[in-house]
């Protein structure tokens, strides 16, 4: 019980009469990498957005069911606090219109009151952690918009890590990146799992194979298979069919 950080029970999401998520029941153990796979439209992104309650940004959806984070129902937790502890990274990295340095300083200034030298140290540390420091150390004041896609994504990851999240949600973070950057991010996730729980939506089967501790295969809004040894021992027909095609 205490090993579970997130539990989703009887969770449904409807858009009008269309069922986007159908009776989802899942629980997540601490410090694991959980990969959600499935074809487009199966509800993976909606599931992710439900966890940090960012589906409220889309007002037309009707939500029903329970999500428990750290023992508490997320509807009882203030959104701001929830999102501080559950970080989300999206497919297209969105950097703020500031310098790279300020993108990170911005988050620190919001949450902490610390002096400039400590701030600076924290920023350098986090950049080193996401393997970005060496590439940008000569000019931390470069506008973040001038960075490459891979660098931006790592910056977004660094930004999210500054809030010390216990769960990190990622929605196809590498789909717009090249092989080098993808490997970078994957390695980062492998090391980050020791501090946080990772839930990643991906359509890259090889990637899922590389990093997962557990695979959740979804189809038409339902969880079809939930397996810690997925690639060795698939149990459902649909999963096999999906892997064959992909």
């Amino acid at each position: 019980m205490t090993n579970e950080i997130l539990t989703i029970s009887n969770f449904n999401v409807n858009y009008g009469s269309k069922k986007i998520l159908d009776n989802i029941n899942l629980s997540f153990k601490k410090n694991t990498i959980n990969c959600i796979i499935g074809s487009s439209g199966c509800g993976k992104t909606t599931l992710l957005k439900s966890i940090n309650n960012s589906i409220v940004f889309e007002s037309e959806l009707h939500v029903d069911g329970n999500i428990c984070y750290d023992g508490k129902n997320i509807s009882d937790i203030d959104d701001s606090t929830l999102r501080k502890e559950i970080a989300m990274l999206m497919q297209m990295p969105v950097v703020f219109p500031f310098s790279l340095y300020k993108n990170l300083e911005y988050v620190l200034d919001y949450y902490l009151k610390i002096d400039k030298t400590r701030k600076n140290d924290m920023i350098v540390d986090i950049l080193k952690k996401v393997q970005l420091y060496e590439e940008v150390k000569d000019d931390l004041n470069i506008s973040a918009e001038k960075l490459s896609g891979g660098q931006k994504q790592r910056l977004c990851l660094a930004r999210a890590l500054l809030t010390e999240p216990k769960i990190i949600l990622l929605d196809e973070p590498c789909s717009a990146l090249d092989v080098y950057n993808t490997m970078c991010i994957e390695n980062l996730l492998l090391s980050l799992k020791h501090e946080s729980t990772i839930i990643i939506v991906t359509h890259n089967i090889q990637e899922a194979k590389r990093i997962n501790d557990r695979i959740i295969f979804m189809k038409d809004g339902k969880v079809v298979e939930d397996n810690e040894n997925f690639f060795e021992n698939m149990s459902t027909e649909e999963a096999r069919a999906f892997i064959n095609v992909n």
């Binding site: 940090n52 960012s54 940004f57 007002s59 959104d79 701001s80 606090t81 929830l82 999102r83 501080k84 502890e85 970080a87 989300m88 999206m90 969105v94 703020f96 219109p97 500031f98 911005y106 988050v107 919001y110 977004c156 930004r159 999210a160 809030t163």
Partner: protein, 287 residues
Amino acid sequence: MNKTKEKIFKYFTKALTYIALSMLLFVICFIVKEALPIFKVVSVKEFVLGTEWVPIDFGFGTKYGMRYFIMGTLLVSLIAVVISMFISIGVSLFLSVVANDRARRNIFPVIDLLSGIPSVVYGFIALELLSPIFFSFGVKTGNCVLLAAIVLSIMITPYIVSSVTYTFVNLRNKYMISIKNLGIDEWYGMTTIILPKSVKRIVLSLILANCRAMGETMAVMMVMGNAIVLPTILGKGESIASLIALEMGTAVRESNHYYALYAAGLVLMATVLIINIVLHKFSKEST
């Protein structure tokens, strides 16, 4: 058969486009042409910078100096923009953050009603309700530049609101999800990221609104005082548009007075056109 119809259609629409274009350009050229004769009587410098406006010869000669009118126009429009800036940005913030898409769609027409209210009605209500307030504070007759600026500010607000809200909404769509996903309060994000990034567009909208304000005739004419003196905020003044409206009826056709009024119109038109052209170039480059 179809081919000829198509050809006629194409050339008809083309012809009308160019006719419209020429007509508009003709208007501009014509104003210039009708204004030129005055510059035989008075130099451009004297016309623009002179402080005396005596269009009718009472025995002391005529003078055509527009300085006070130019100052009046600038003063009233700038104050109007400053006043409107606060309300407009505030309303735009509300519309982009608090109001959802549907609410915006329903509120915009209400705000646009303001832009449809005839200028005379604005002047009338200001004269009836606000002028007495100014009068009780010691302003003679209650009419002054500030009052005109207040009325103008309401008139130009819808234009600023629509343009600034558009900017805010676009930026909000771009950044707000990321901001909220970090657990950061949306008004904090609005203030620290979106507002600063909007400054350029806001300034552009304000300058365009300023041009609108400079051209406004009736409301300003009714409450600004119309005294040909150095305009001060609580004192009287006269705008260029008011000058033309008030004196055109009595100016003898093709007299110097007449040409001078056209020249005044030219000054107004040229100022507004130049600002607009420069601004559009500037905003196209930065988008």
